[in-house]
């Protein structure tokens, strides 16, 4: 690890504390990945409602259940990552509003609560206490839940921005990446959930959302990869972990290929050949690859010595 050393000084650290290991590891990756799918599905349901409401009938229940489950996976891993998980309630009783963690915890809790109401309305359609028109009730609530899904998706980027020590995580780049992760994984999830229940036209539409999300996210990562190191020495040092023989170079490129490049190619092929199988394969790869991409970007800034 050397970037600024001059041959003249030949400075070598001969005694410092042991570097701490990675603090935010794969539990946090799971957190971001599951949240992307959870909120992404809501965005896609809202898009479907606006584009072709008649196709909503088959998807309201499965999509809200999967979204609810993924949001609970997100909450579970958030809790598990705390060193004092039984003090989680402090966030609600001693909230500190300058912290994106606090704001996010509150919004995510409200979001999951609303999702529970929507899910309950769909599962107990006939006995719904709130309304006799469960579908109408669901669709009305979907608008507000979609609005709330935006900050729930973005707040992790806020946390990363507040992590002053980690120069790689910049605003607004991380915000854009969070939204794109949600649209990528949400469209992929709805393609897989929709199966034969969605028309070919609608599936191709979600395929286009997936492909465009992958393209934009890939462009941003490549921009950072190529140009990021021209601004700040810390970014240069961090990006060295994903370049050349860097510790995370292989994992970085596996993520880029699986999450973005291959899905883009498969979606292009699926549009030409009208193949649903290729579309499904693209969706599976995008969801799997997103985990890898998120993990690499989460870990590499933590490898840098700060003292």
């Amino acid at each position: 690890m050397v970037h600024e050393t001059l041959a003249a000084t030949n400075a070598v650290v001969t005694l410092d504390v042991a570097l701490p290991d990675v603090f935010w590891g794969w539990y946090v990756t799971m957190n971001m990945w599951a949240k992307s799918i959870g909120t992404g599905l809501i965005f896609m349901l809202f898009l479907l409602l606006k584009k072709n409401a008649s196709e909503m009938n088959a998807l309201r229940t499965p999509a809200i259940i999967v979204s609810f489950v993924m949001m609970n996976v997100f909450l579970l891993f958030t809790l598990a990552d705390l060193h004092q998980p039984f003090r989680m309630w402090h966030i609600f009783f001693y909230p500190h509003w300058t912290s994106a963690i606090t704001v996010g915890a509150w919004m995510a809790t409200i979001f999951v609560g609303l999702e529970f109401v929507m899910m309950a309305a769909m599962i107990r359609k006939d006995k719904c206490l709130l309304t006799k028109d469960a579908n109408g009730f669901f669709d009305k609530l979907l608008f507000w839940v979609t609005l709330l899904a935006i900050p729930v998706t973005l707040y992790t980027a806020g946390i990363m921005a507040e992590a002053t020590a980690r120069e790689l995580w910049q605003m607004p780049t991380e915000s854009v990446q969070m939204i794109l992760a949600a649209t990528l994984s949400g469209s992929a999830a709805i393609i897989l959930l929709g199966g034969s229940k969605l028309s070919d036209e609608t599936k191709q539409f979600f395929g286009a959302v997936l492909g465009l999300s992958a393209l934009m996210a890939f462009i941003i990562y490549m921009s950072e990869y190529v140009f990021g190191s021209m601004k700040a020495e810390e970014v240069t040092a961090i990006l060295a972990y994903v370049k050349g023989d860097g510790e995370y170079a292989t994992m970085f490129w596996i993520g880029q290929w699986v999450a973005y490049i291959l899905p883009m190619l498969l979606i292009a092929l699926a549009r030409v050949s009208k193949s649903n199988s290729l579309l499904s394969l693209a969706a599976i790869l995008a969801i799997a690859g997103l985990w890898v991409v998120k993990h690499v970007w989460l870990v590499i800034p933590q490898l840098l010595p700060l003292s």
Binding site: M1, V2, H3, E4, T5, T9, N10, A11, V12, V13, T14, L15, D16, V17, A18, L19, P20, D21, V22, F23, W24, G25, W26, Y27, V28, A80, D81, L82, H83, Q84, P85, R87, M88, H90, I91, Y94, P95, H96, T98, S99, A100, I101, T102, A105, I159, E162, A163, T164, A165, R166, E233, E234, A237, V299, Q302, L304, P305, L306, S307
Partner: protein, 212 residues
Amino acid sequence: MQLGFLVDLHLCMGCKGCEIACKVENEVPLSTWRLRVKYVDVGTFPETKRTFTPLRCNHCENAPCERICPVSALHYIENGIVNIDKERCIGCAGCVMACPYGAIYIDPETQTADKCTYCAHRIASSMMPACVVACPVEANIFGDLEDPKSNISSYIQAHQGNVTVRKPEKGTNPHHFYVGGGNVNLNPLASKREEGYNLFNKLTHLPLGGHH
């Protein structure tokens, strides 16, 4: 009152008395440090010298750890110290991620964040921090930055142009200053870290962190 620290690196001889005093005073567990002295060797044999840099919490005016803490476990007190309430901390490690100086760690015994508090409990009893008392050459200078007649203010005035802080570009406004600090001492990217050649051989990664 705005308490601050200044270390005169010309005086520090790397005895680690401050480090030990801090460990004892604050019962800092093994493998963790509130204050440590970094050694950097400079030059090529036989023209070499060793530099010593005590590193501790900078008690920033614009503290990223205070801002990111979701439960105000990290908070300012009236004298400018960034203190920590370990009973309130939930161990999210947000502060560990935010502190640009690597000054915060997760206490392996309490599973909460911990860091230098400028010995806030001693100051409350009108005593100096333990590291100041232990330093045999008075390289650690502690006092009120708002009082122009305090030791620290006089020292800063006397060494105008040679007083630096760590990572000023982060905009944290540290209340911890160095006299005689340079790029080699204060910039972590300005010196090599060669695995296997440190005095702490094979101890470069401790399993203190999260799940990965």
